[in-house]
């Protein structure tokens, strides 16, 4: 089955605190959106790949890595890749910045 991609305007950079994640519900997907200290904006599905699940948005952000809030897994915000020794991957969604408005493709 084909999935179509839809674009959602999620606001401006100022709506996201530096290094503090925020939940954005785009259509029927819940995203965790992060603003890193170098100005990057990353959107990930707000669900830990840990078997017990749980949200990601409240983790601690360092560079382009996230330490998830429940199990302290280290996740690369750019790729969604869970860092060793843990394993897994979070779905990531591209974010684009035009002027001051951010758009995520889901």
């Amino acid at each position: 089955m084909n999935k179509t991609t839809q674009m959602y305007a999620i606001g401006s950079v100022q709506d996201f605190l530096m290094q503090i994640g925020r939940v954005v519900v785009a259509g029927n997907v819940e995203l965790a959106v992060f603003r890193t200290s170098d100005g990057g904006i990353y959107a990930l599905e707000n669900r830990s790949p840990h078997p017990k699940g749980g949200p990601l948005a409240e983790g601690i952000v360092s560079g382009h890595f996230l330490y998830d809030p429940l199990y302290d897994w280290k996740i690369d915000l750019r790729t969604g890749e869970v860092q060793a020794p843990d394993e897994g991957r979070v779905v990531t969604y591209p974010v684009t910045l035009d002027e001051d408005s951010l758009t995520v493709s889901v």
Partner: protein, 807 residues
């Protein structure tokens, strides 16, 4: 009747000579002492010049004995004065300006000079050695004016000089005659790893190059090598070796070879004249390192004081490079040879190398690169000439499974009392043991402040720790050699010290300045540093939400489904029907999943949605119970004298008072208390961080209890008579824990690490100290605010933190 004291003249105001004088003073030697030094400074620690150059120390930091020390000990000091001759006939030493001082005994400790290569141009401007403060000054100055430096010599000193100059911003090339760096201490493997690491740090190398000329007009402009190639340089440091300074001995007719020849009691060929340190030659060896000089000094001091002493029989030298981030160690034999058995392991990924050499199964030498944690142990084994056993092997090399290396023998036990532990400052094992037993010290820092051990290069720290552990037994928990997390090698104490020393203000600054491996830290260090900063500067520190664990950032406990638990305060476990009604109403309105009574006498409202949190708090209009925080959780109480027929004290009242007083303040970890009205202990004081038990005449205080992961029954701390005393002692204990606890370290671990006696000493034996601690916690308490009040008044933070965006 005053006894006529003998006259002792020391020529050379350096570490060797003054070290000997210090020993003589300690032994109570009755001498009139005169010291001559040709440098214009009091005695300083020459081996730390590398740190001055690196910029981490100033010259004042490395002064070992300041002017007042000489005065206090009635020592006549002549600086900037060179002694030219010892006249054996008239028993006088003669100086360049004609002074003649009579002596009964003389110690020549004139040290050594930089060996300046005898090549054309070596006398040009911009060419220096690396031996003393003036050389160091010249290097600091050159770095401001010139950009290209060459260091001739790839030994210890040359590499330290090179790294210092790189740090000062110069483009530095190390020119070395051999193909391997530090070839007199390291084998080829370690040497090439060292070179690679230094190249990574910005040092360039020209290996296998023999300098034949320094070019330039008045000032040096470059080097020419025997193969015809050249190197541009407007500043040259010669670090090719040292030359024992034997001029005085020679002029005076004392036998010299390469150095001043001495016997096993450091006696020269001339009666009553002794020599020690780098200028002396003992059994054909001139030592250029620091440890032997203290060993010699000890023998000489005893000999001069008429105490029994074993002869000096030479030293096992070991080397440690003083460049931050480059760990190299070698001791004894280091080169493979047919008669030696070699045990080695090299890990190119972790960049570590370890080699141990055996001769007839006796450990005769070792080389370490990258990981030098075993250096102290190895140095000792080499010194003792220990026989290799299965135990030692598995301790040093690991057994290849998780059981490897867990049996750390207390090898310091076998160490002789006289053995020098800190080579830099000449501190013996006995001096450290005395510091521990006489002053009750329990930490390396205290020993450092008292004895000077570990004050310089820090290489002896593992041994000092082992001695501490040996003396204190179970009450010493070995400080982890790793840093507080994978981002740093610095310990908690080191970080806190750096924060103070450098006035660091934010976690970012701490991580930048102290060279964090991961620039923005991790989930372990960021909250810790944020805590330390807030603890140290309660009034000025800007709390960093992004460095707080989710629970503390949101002011509620996250549950596994992403909902939160809210716990309102119930001071001392007491509530009112009105509050209960409010809690019930809010729980119904926001569809709370479960209302549960907690172990700490409060109500959990479990399953609140994140976006509802602000409204729940607003409608409850009760203070936050901090069920989520590294902070005071609850003060559990029994019914007490208000209602209980056994109660002797008002435990509910005191519990509520304490909870109100200390709420909201950050601690290293969660903190729980209990107050009981009588010794029946219904509120279970024995498992609380601070447990209080009322009795007929006052209160009894217990600390360090825990009912959690590692249950521990609290220790009886003290008894007090009045409520005021109770609060003052509790305040002091809490603040002392706040100031010395590792982040996430519960008091149960803290009490064991610090030792109960130490905490009692600090708080109970010293009223002034106790009052200061209590004042500091009171000041910090004036700064706390209710997080929910704050969030409710801050719309944008509230939105960004708690509300999902829906698009």
């Amino acid at each position: 009747m005053a006894e006529k004291r003998e006259k002792l003249v020391l020529v050379g105001n350096g570490m060797a000579g003054i070290g000997t004088i210090e020993q003589i003073l300690k032994l109570g030697g009755a001498y009139d002492i005169t010291v001559f030094g040709s440098e214009p400074h009091p005695n300083y620690n020459r081996i730390m010049l590398s740190y001055v150059l690196e910029g981490s120390k100033t010259i004042n930091d490395i002064i070992l004995n300041d002017w007042s020390w000489y005065e206090e000990n009635n020592i006549t000091l002549h600086t900037g004065t060179t002694v030219t001759r010892i006249d054996e006939g008239s028993k006088q030493v003669i100086t360049e300006n004609g002074m003649a001082v009579p002596y009964d005994k003389v110690i020549i400790a004139t040290g050594s000079n930089s060996f300046i290569l005898p090549v054309p141009g070596s006398d040009k401007e911009g060419v220096v050695g690396f031996r003393d403060i003036s050389d160091c000054d010249a290097m600091l100055e050159a770095a401001q004016q010139y950009s290209k430096a060459a260091v001739i010599g790839g030994g210890l000193l040359g590499l330290e000089a090179a790294k210092g100059l790189v740090n000062l911003g110069m483009d530095v090339t190390v020119v070395h005659l051999m193909e391997d760096l530090m070839e007199r201490q390291l084998d080829r493997n370690a040497s090439s790893m060292l070179q690679a690491e230094l190249e990574r740090q910005g040092v360039k190398f020209a290996m296998g190059k023999q300098t034949v000329e320094l070019t330039g007009e008045q000032r040096v402009s470059g080097l020419r090598f025997s193969d015809g190639s050249t190197l541009e340089a407007d500043f040259v440091v010669m670090a090719v070796g040292i030359k024992p300074n034997i001029t005085l001995a020679k002029e005076s007719g004392v036998s010299v070879n390469r150095g001043i020849v001495v016997d096993d009691y450091l006696q020269t060929s001339m009666q009553n004249v002794y020599s020690i340190g780098e200028c002396a030659e003992h059994r054909g060896v001139c030592y250029g390192l620091v440890a032997p000089l203290f060993e010699q000094g000890m023998v000489l001091a005893k000999h001069l004081c008429g105490s029994d002493t074993k002869p000096y029989e030479g030293s096992v030298v070991s080397t440690k490079l003083k460049i931050s981030g480059v760990d190299v160690f070698s001791a004894g034999e280091f080169m493979d040879a047919p008669e030696l058995t070699v045990i080695s392991s090299k890990d190119e990924w972790k960049k570590t190398y370890k080699k141990i050499l055996l001769k007839n199964n006796v450990i005769v030498g070792a080389v370490l690169f990258g990981d030098v944690t075993e250096s102290a142990n190895l140095q000792k084994l080499v010194k003792q000439g220990a026989v290799m056993t299965d135990e030692i092997y598995s301790e040093l090399m690991g057994t290849g499974c998780c059981g490897g290396g867990n049996k750390k023998g207390t090898s310091v036990e076998a160490m002789a009392d006289e053995e020098i532990v800190c080579g830099c400052n000449g501190v013996t094992k006995k001096a450290i043991i005395d510091a521990v037993t006489e002053n009750g010290f329990t930490t390396v820092d205290e020993i450092k402040a008292c004895t000077g051990a570990t004050r310089s290069c820090g290489g002896c720290k593992p041994v000092v720790e082992q001695i501490l552990q040996f003396v204190l037994g179970d009450s010493f928990q070995q400080a982890a050699k790793q840093g507080i997390c994978g981002c740093t090698t610095l310990s908690r104490d080191e970080i806190v010290a750096e924060i103070t020393a450098k006035g660091l203000k934010t976690t970012k600054e701490v991580m930048n300045v102290l060279g964090w491996k991961q620039e923005e830290g991790c989930s372990k260090c960021r909250p810790a540093i944020n805590y330390y900063l807030g603890m140290m500067n309660p009034d000025t520190h800007q709390d960093e939400k992004e460095s707080r664990f989710v629970n503390e950032r949101m002011g509620a406990n996250i549950q596994k489904d992403g909902t939160y638990t809210v716990i309102p305060r119930m001071y001392g476990g007491v509530t009112t029907p009105e509050d209960l009604k409010k809690i019930a109403d809010v729980s119904l309105k926001y569809d709370v999943k479960v209302v549960k009574v907690t172990g700490g006498q409060r109500l959990d409202l479990i399953g609140v949605k994140k976006e509802d949190l602000p409204k729940v708090w607003e409608e409850l209009d009760m203070p936050s119970g901090y069920g989520y925080a590294k902070s005071l959780r609850t003060v559990k109480t029994c019914v007490g004298s208000q209602f209980c027929r056994f109660g002797t004290q008002d435990s509910m009242g005191m519990g509520a008072l304490m909870e109100r007083k200390y709420e909201r303040l950050d601690f290293p970890a969660k903190f729980k208390m209990a107050v009981n009205g009588c010794p029946r202990n219904c509120a279970e004081s024995c498992t609380k961080d601070i447990g209080i038990v009322g009795n007929d005449g006052g209160w009894e205080i217990f600390i360090g209890g825990n009912g959690g992961i590692k249950p521990r029954i609290a220790d009886a701390f003290c008894k007090v008579k009045t409520d005021e005393e109770l609060i003052e002692v509790c305040s002091a204990v809490m603040q002392y824990y706040r100031e010395t606890g590792n982040y996430l370290e519960r008091t149960s671990e803290w009490v064991e690490r610090m030792g109960l006696e130490q905490i009692q000493m600090v708080i109970l034996n010293n009223e002034e100290n106790r009052k200061e601690l209590a004042a500091r916690i009171d000041f910090a308490l004036t700064q706390v605010t209710d997080p929910w009040k704050k969030i409710l008044n801050d719309n944008s933070t509230r939105t960004a933190l708690f509300e999902d965006a829906r698009v």
